[in-house]
């Protein structure tokens, strides 16, 4: 089992660093180019939401990413922050109607969470008073 951790300030400027970290972890887990891209995309969306919501206008506070590739080759990514809880399961899935396209349906977070759910096999969230917000996403090894 391979485990990698990254802790860094929760700022939009750090999204590129996060993407590099996740890309390397997914490649090391043996994922192909498309799967690697989808994983980094889901994590980018998740971290954007955390940065936007957890720490407010200050945007100061750390995010920790933990990537684990297990023996089956599945990749488990946990995103931990210590700010205001943002539960993706509480955000309604946007209904996108091309005929009557409404920008409000793409409210901050909504479309990003839609992507996360589509691209990853599992998305779970829990809040712990001691350790903060934990968003976990799993991508199973593509068959």
């Amino acid at each position: 089992m391979d485990e990698r951790t990254l802790t860094l300030p929760g700022r939009f400027e750090n999204l590129a660093k996060i993407s590099d970290f996740i890309t390397q972890a997914a490649r090391a887990a043996g994922f192909d180019a498309d799967a690697v891209f989808h994983v980094q995309m889901a994590v980018d969306e998740a971290c954007s939401n955390v940065i936007e919501h957890a720490y407010g206008m200050d945007r100061s506070g750390d995010i920790t990413l933990i990537c684990r590739a297990d023996d089956r080759g599945d990749l488990r990514i946990e995103i931990v922050d210590y700010g205001r809880p943002f539960d993706p399961n509480r955000v309604p899935i946007p209904r996108i109607d091309p005929e009557h396209f409404d920008l409000d349906e793409m409210k901050v977070g909504g479309l990003g969470i839609f992507f996360m759910r589509k691209l990853m096999d599992e998305v779970t969230f829990y809040f712990d008073a001691n350790t903060g917000n934990h968003l976990t996403m799993i991508k199973r090894r593509p068959q």
């Binding site: 999204l15 954007s48 996108i96 091309p98 920008l103 479309l111 990003g112």
Partner: protein, 110 residues
């Protein structure tokens, strides 16, 4: 993300490259909105060299498209990279954006 813009007689061509994530999307939005506010609302957005576009980038494009149309103009996409096409499809927005394989063709469509 890099943005470069050139003004033709009736159309502005905005070329975007790199990553359009939540850090970059506000700049993209600003560039497009300032064109539209100065009544340059016939816009071709070239996306051949965009490696990644997040939901924030898509929102910036949609918001600019709506503003352009409101002003009697339009915003079309030229040479979208395969990753850009993929994210537009995933969002269900393929029929919302007009996409051209060629910039000249996109400019000529106005």
């Amino acid at each position: 993300m890099y943005i470069s813009s050139r003004e033709l007689k009736r159309v502005n061509v905005v070329s975007v490259s790199g990553r359009v994530d939540s850090a970059a999307a506000p700049d993209l939005e600003k560039s497009l909105q300032s064109l539209i506010e100065s009544r340059r609302n016939q816009i071709v957005v070239e996306l051949a060299d965009v490696d990644y576009m997040s939901s924030a980038g898509l929102r910036a494009l949609v918001s600019a498209l709506k503003a352009a149309k409101k002003g009697g103009g339009d915003l079309v996409i030229a040479r979208p990279s395969s990753r850009v096409r993929e994210v537009i499809d995933l969002a269900g927005l393929t029929s919302v954006f007009t996409m051209h394989d060629d910039t000249l063709e996109a400019v000529g469509s106005f």
